[in-house]
Symmetry: C2
Subunit: 187 residues, 2 copies
Amino acid sequence: MVSAARLFARQGARGTSIDEILSESGTGKSQFYHYFSDKDELIRCVHAMQIERMLALHSVIFEQLDSWEGFELLQDTVLHLLESQRFQNGCPIGSLASELAASDELVRIDTEQYFDRKKAAIVRGLTSMKLRGELRADTDVQGLADFVVTVLQGAKLMCKVRRSADSASASFRHMMAYLRSHRTALA
Amino acid sequence: MVSAARLFARQGARGTSIDEILSESGTGKSQFYHYFSDKDELIRCVHAMQIERMLALHSVIFEQLDSWEGFELLQDTVLHLLESQRFQNGCPIGSLASELAASDELVRIDTEQYFDRKKAAIVRGLTSMKLRGELRADTDVQGLADFVVTVLQGAKLMCKVRRSADSASASFRHMMAYLRSHRTALA
DNA sequence: AGCCCAGTGTACTGGGCGGTATAATCTCCG
DNA sequence: CGGAGATTATACCGCCCAGTACACTGGGCT
């Protein structure tokens, strides 16, 4: 499963054969078909696993999203994660979604829920900042959260294509500047 | 070639067979191998064609990017394009890049140049706004252009996954608000 | 007419794919 | 020990894939 994830990131789900995954993981075919009914199920499981892995990895950060430092931490973490793979993979969830969202409805819905959960965490953080009076009362928390998710996802694609963090970090800088433009005098 | 593009958008390049393309376009195999040496070349040609098509389609808008109305027009055009395909495809260039950038270096580089050309058009527009005194003198034109490209790309992925323009249009709204926050008193 | 040849239709090939069948092995319990 | 059931290795199957071979067409030239 972890082998499958690695290969999917490198060559896409459709571009990876079951035999390849098996030889990389050192297991046999009977094991595979014992745990999964077919390749599509494997793809969905890998995708769901990546989603849970990402959300778990960021869960601590998500709880700190009620401060500017929290958002800084979020973008730093994303950049470090991308750098640790030398900007070669971008976002495994986004990549798989791009490849399969149009043809596999279950993958599409799982991805949608992933974005929803990310957005919800951001909404929570921004809302409590608003309640504390750090954000202006007329701040569009929902739209802003969508905006953050969009920028994060776009930035990860930029990294993958450009093999560099330059565009992504510039985008993050501007995103943060915009977020901060909603702060009140008190904050 | 246009059939190939349509199928690639729906099921990805790796998920589309040559036979499928041929039966959809009503041509034979000998024609295909007369014009292309192999499938990879077709993929690259389709990708390059999509890039030129997109840039040509936006060329008029790119020339108007020296005004707020120009940017409004850009985002409206992108949204209309996405809507006309019922948000099922997102960005064909971004999708293909997500799928293949890690394994096909030529596709990656073509995509990078596509982003560069888009960015250059935005830089031109913002620079002339700056020279006319509509943007603050300390505006980071380069970074801002990267930011716009990133948001556009992220928004197109959001449309594809969510099958709705809500996230995208919220993101565009906030992007515009941020751009406008750089205007001078005179503008 | 006779020839040529770029362009086209189509049958074919070898290999790799997803998936299955079957036999061997391990594990647990009497 | 012995046997039953779960787990695993491996040989295999049919299909579909990318790519090739080859026969055919029709228009231009002599």
